[in-house]
Amino acid sequence: MGLLDTILGRSKPVKPDLDDLFALPSAAVTLQAAGNLRPTGVGSVCVKPAEGGGFAGLREQINQLLAMDGGKYDETTDGFGFTWIVRRGDPNDLSGLVADLHGVNATLSDAGFGPSLLCTLVTFTDGQLPTVGLVYLYKRGTWYPFAPTGPDKRDNARELQVRAYLGDELKVEPDLSRWFPVWGAPGL
């Protein structure tokens, strides 16, 4: 925020940065090789629903979009009032999943609801330990791992391990205080 905006008390909504979403498929290969973590085929987009007719109309549009694809999508609302648009697909088709998620994001963003986008989440599993999520923060264009082990508990060691696996493949959020938990996210 610029000095003038500070003085005048205006803050502008932050525009989302969707570019780095497509780096995920290649990073997933690394993740599987290094940590035996495979995609579960579940991905979701989290959005803060605004009130009013504008957003309701958009939601209608999303629902139509979702209905076209043979019920692979569904929609849940979490305890914080955020809407998750969930896509469940083939675990081996991560590129398809990412493309679909990007489609949802782009639709929302083009309709002017970019500032309402919270994150995109894609989940991974190694078959034994609990599922790990990779969270994409639109506002920063960065990723971070999230490994919940129970209600309000997360496995920080495992998250740091996943970050080490990813190395330079993904733009990982450098500021650890921004690795905010998404408790109760679908697929985790």
Binding site: S11, E51, G57, F113, L118, S177, R178, F180
Partner: protein, 306 residues
Amino acid sequence: MATSRNRFRSDPQLVARMGVTMFLIGALYVGVVAALIVSGLNIAFVLVIAAVLLFVQYYFSDKMALYGMGGRIVTPEEAPELHGIVDRLCALSDMPKPRVAIADTDIPNAFATGRNPKHAVVCATTGIMRRLDSQELEGVLSHELSHVAHRDVAVMTFASFLGMAAGLFTRMALYSGFFFGGGDDEDNNNGAAAFFLVLLVSMVVYAISFLLTRTLSRYRELSADRSGALLTGRPSALASALQKVTGDMARIPTRDLRAAEPFNAFFFTPALANGVSISSLFSTHPSLEKRLAQLAKISAELGQPV
């Protein structure tokens, strides 16, 4: 009948008294400074002292406000819901996460303070968390986070410093006129007259800066309402929180209110209910009607189809 109708209305006399009190506190400060100058201290030196005092207030604003309200920093494990809301709002608005505190008091309120977004703290009272649902609490917290994003502590500190400096420079100008323009043969009489005149003029300057600072504060509250509502996309949740909280505020026993007064500047709603014309000039927060009207406008804007 008449008493029951009056019970929940604000007391105009009380509000006026409070306005006068706040004015007098400032006037006292000005008087002290004037006395310091008359006693021969260098104006630059006094200005430096004033600046240092305000800087300390600004630099330690987070600690002072927390201490004053009895707020306690809480970990995500202790307050998962509060942390969850703040986490998400920060991710939405791309700002660093402030520390989160809870004050154990039944006054329904919340405040944010700190010299910059990195050293900010957001505090909610147990009273506000008990009364509001999570959507409303989110609205309140996004209002507070907007204060942090707008750096209101810095702006308001700077504004009050300017007000003070204006008063000091007025005195300086008057003194140089009196002491260098006039003769110094009848210095006793002249000195006393000069002192009172200087006092009078600096009071007027102070009064103007007082009103301006208050106006600025109200404007910034409206800005924070607006940014907060746009961030959550739910102006009506903030509006209903405001209604609940201001309605409740008037019913709180006076002792608690007095304890809360010094921190009004960074509160979500001031600890005293206002609504009388004189108070609208003196108050740090805009009237409830004004805030609700703005939120309703934002709500209508959001309702427009895309």
